[in-house]
Every structure is written in C-alpha cells, then in structure tokens.
Amino acid sequence: MSDASPPPAAADAETPAPNADQNRSLWGDVRYQLVRSPLFWISSVMVLVILTMAFVPQLWASTPPTARGACDLLNAREKPSAEHWFGYTASGCDMWASVVYGTGKSVIVAILVTIGTVLLGVTLGTLAGYFGGFTDTVISRITDDFFGLPFILGALVFLAIFPDRNIWTITLVLTLFGWTSLTRVMRGSVIATKQADYVDAARAVGAGHFFIIRRHIISNSIAPVVVLATIGLGSFIGAEATLTYLGVGYQRPTVSWGLLVAEGQNLALAGFWHLLVIPASFIVVTVLSFILLGDALRDALDPRHR
C-alpha cells in the first residue's frame, strides 16, 4: 500500500493552481476540465453515435425490421455472413437493422428514466438532507413507503392501466419505482456535506439557503448519485427486458434490445450464439460509454478537483 501514489497530488498536477482562475464560473471550470480529457472525447463520440442511432436510425440502417416484408422467417437464426455481418434474428430480420432500430426504445427510455430519477432524487434528497427535521421526516417516510413496494407488482398494475405501451408509459413506471434509491443516497451524502467548514463559513457570511445548496451542497454531494445513475442507466435497459418478459413491456413487433436479448438467450445455448452476443455487446458498449462519460463529468464537476 505504501507505494500508492497520492492521487490528490496527481490531480493537482493537471489542474491549474487554485485561486488562479478566480473569474471562471463553475461551468467554465467544467468546460476547461472536459476539453482536456481524452476519456471524455472517446465516450462522447460513442454516446453521440448511440444517440444518433436512437433518434435517427435511418442514418445507420435503411429498412426498419417492422417494414412490410423486411423479415423472412426462412432466414431465421442465420449466422453472421459476409453480406450480413451480424446475421439474422430469431424472427428472420436482419440483426443489424433490429439492433439499430431497437436502440431508440431501449436507450431513450433508459436516459429519460435516469434524468427523471436523478431530478427527483437530487431535489428530494437535498431538501431532506439539508433542512432535516420535519422536512426530512416527511420526505424520508414517503420514500420508505414507495421503497417497500415491489417493482413488479407496481409495473403490472400501471402498465395494465395504460394498454398502449410506449416510451412514455414505460419511462413513467420505471421512474415511479426507481427514484427512491437515489433520494436516499443523496440525502445521506448531503447530510455529510452540510457539516463541512465551508458550509458553515458560507452561512456565517449570510449566504441564503438556496445559494448554499446551489453553490456548495449539490456539487459536493452529487458524486455517489452520478455513479449510481450511470449504473442505473445500464440496469434500466435490463429492466425494460424484464417488463417485456412479464408481458407488460413493449409489444411486438416493436424491437428493443431487451427483447432481442431475452429472445436470444435460449437459442444461444443451442448454438446460435450471435443471437445473444450481438445485442448484449451493444448494451455493454452503451453502458460503458455512458459510465465513462459520467466519470469524466464527475471529475470535472468535483470542486475539490480544482
């Protein structure tokens, strides 16, 4: 352990000396940090690629698998070949087109749910942690109430209420049953942060609650939330698959990554490995990209980094 180099020193080396950038705003700092990080560039490009797949799949594959006559059962399960690098799905659709057109359903939901849960979690967690007392009691106990509810039962009911399942209804359900963990983690983190000397100092010079929360509390406590949120992004893609498995997720013939993985699993064990490996690889690369981007953002946002 003794040879562990002190990370603070390393971090300091790549940051300008404190006080040298007095007139740069928080976001100016962030920008300055980001443009100098290769991780940020690699992951942003990946994320950009994934986002274009999600929003403009036509750029990447000409025919959607839902188009008339796009799939032929005769081709079902065909393995990758020179013409079709990714082979065919179990329903005889081109795997590449299916994955590309499935991106939207999986990734947009995951992103929306992540945004939703982070907004709710950070707001409520900060309020509960910072103000404590009665506010904390109310928010925490409501969190407990929702936290005890089993996701599956809730999802079954909610999606039965909305017979037309689309991105919005699935997002709503996943958010409704997913915000509690982030709230709790944020609250714990804020409680620890608000004891810090600089918060006392800010308070002593008469800074308002809103100012302190904005300037000090959130930026100093958000790290674990960012970690969990980026992880959550990956798990929400999986949660969509679970919903589909239970019959309350997307309806076929819609394609989504979760559907492809669930469908490919059994056949993979019978020798059709590409049915599982290809959609799973897309999930892995996506999750990895978002997590790396999250890491880069977090490093940039961390005030102690400067």
Binding site: A10, L153, A223
Partner: protein, 334 residues
Amino acid sequence: MGRYVARRVLQFIPVILGTLFLLHLLSTLTIQIVGDPVRALFGENAPPASVIAQMQADYNLDDPCLQQTGNPCLGLFVDRLGQYAQFDFGVNFRGRPITELFVERFPVTVRLTVIALVFEAVVGILLGILAGLRKDRFADNLVRFSTVLLIAFPVFVFGTLAQLLLGLQVGLRIRESSWAPDWLGQMLNVGYNADYPWLSLTLPGLVLGAFSLAAIARLTRTSLIENLRSDYVRTARAKGLTTRRVVGVHTLRNSLIPVVTYIGIDIGLLLGGALVTEGIFNIPGVGQLVFLAIRANDTPVIVGVVTLLTIVFLVANLLVDIFYAALDPRIRYE
C-alpha cells in the same frame, strides 16, 4: 442516540400503514383492471359459474367494490389490517396459510441474501479501494471495465450462463471426480441442495450479488478518490502519517457512508432480485414463491408475501438507519 431510536420507531407506524395501503391499492387495482384471479385459475374452459362464485366467496374476492375500477375498497383494507394484526396473512388458492409458506421459505432467502451481501460488500469494497488507490492505472481500468460487464448483462442471462458454465461444466466434473472435496463441488452446483444449506447457495449468491458488487465497487472507488483529495487527508499526510493509516482510519470510514446507504437499500433490491435467481437455480425461497405465484396468478400469495417482505424490509431499513447514525458521529440526529 436513545431518543433518536425512539423517534424513529414511532415514525415507523405511519410508514408501515402507508405502505400497506399502497400495496392494498395496487392489488385492488390489479383485480379491478386485470381481472378475476379465480377465473384465471381455470383457463380456457370455464367451470360452472356457481363454482367460481363459491371460490370468490372463500377468498373474499366477491366484494362488489372489486368490480368498480378506481374504488379504493377501504372496507377491505380495514378488514385486512384486522387480519394482519392477528398475524393472519390469508391462505393461498390451495388453502395453505401464507404465513406458513413464508416461514418455511424465508430462512433460505435470508441465507442467499446474506451470501450475496457479504460477497458484494467484501469484494466490492476491496475492489473499490484497489481501484481508488490506483486511479487511472491498469488495476483501476480493469475493475471499471469488469464491473460494467456485470451491470450490462440482465440478471437472467448472467445467471443462466453462470449456472451452465460454472455449475454444470465445471461443477459436475468436480462432483463426479474422486479427488475433489465435497464442499467444492457443492459450491458450484446447478441448484439448491438441502443437505448443504449454505454451500449450495454459493453460486446463486454470487450471481445475486454481482450487480450490487459492481455498484459498491464503483461507489467505493469514487468516494475514496474524493476523500483522498479532502483537507483532512492532506493534514494527516502533512503530519507524516503513513498511507495505510490515512486510508484505513481517516478516509475509509467517511468513504463508506454512501456505500452503507447503498447496502441498506440493496437488502430490498436483493429480495426482489432473488425472484429471478431463485427461479433459475430452483431455490425454495420466498422469491421462488412469488415467482410461482405470479405464474399461477395466485393473488393472495403475491399480496400476502409482499406484505410480509415489506415489513421485514422496513425493519431492516430502520436498523440500517440506526447503524448509520452510529457510524458517522458527524451526523447529529437531534
């Protein structure tokens, strides 16, 4: 501390009532919207109407409010609370008391959860420390990448692969061999073996804990990196303390706060995740019970077991909160 515990226990009452009410609302809405579970028991060929009516009466499903979508059925909720107060959580569609089913199976799930928790906490924290101390070096990148793999695979895929490759391909060979000790083969089994109540849960426990392991490793890493940059660590270093002491005494305890919070949350998530894991590995636990009940549309079991689990979970939560207060003296709960 004593006052805090007392206050927390008092608050527990409205929480549990609230959760029970939400549960009641969900199950009532399910029946109102999804349909009559008694009818679903029989499939395509409907039995005589009188048979269905009798069964609905037997299971308290004949209340007219269950036909009115949106009606919260408060009367039924009060009845239910009365039954819960007497530890009566109903019977399943085969007439067996749900408490009995639960008590039979809960220890198995607890063992599974304990294995998963110990595994994810110990390995996760160790990996996190390793990665945090060697930020941006090989070990760190390896940990970050391998945890992404754990996160990205849906648990049913991961579980099946582990069962097939480790439990069967490797495990069967070990179990059939003459040289390997018995316990090793049981640790890599394809399913639960009642003769080895702990060992045979090892592999499923690892599968169950895998996702959270990734989360814990990443949380620990981030938290550690942050704290290593903080003023008090610099002060400690400046005082000439060794790295071991800086990390062990000053940094780690603070870094573990979000990790402990997460582990507390995770107890609930694990109980939910056990549903899939117990299904794959054929483990006679509570998750399997719910899994089978969902498949068989056995609503009384789903509601009863989920209620019991919720109570267990809320109690666990309470304990974690108290532990939390003990862990971080800066947190003043006055």
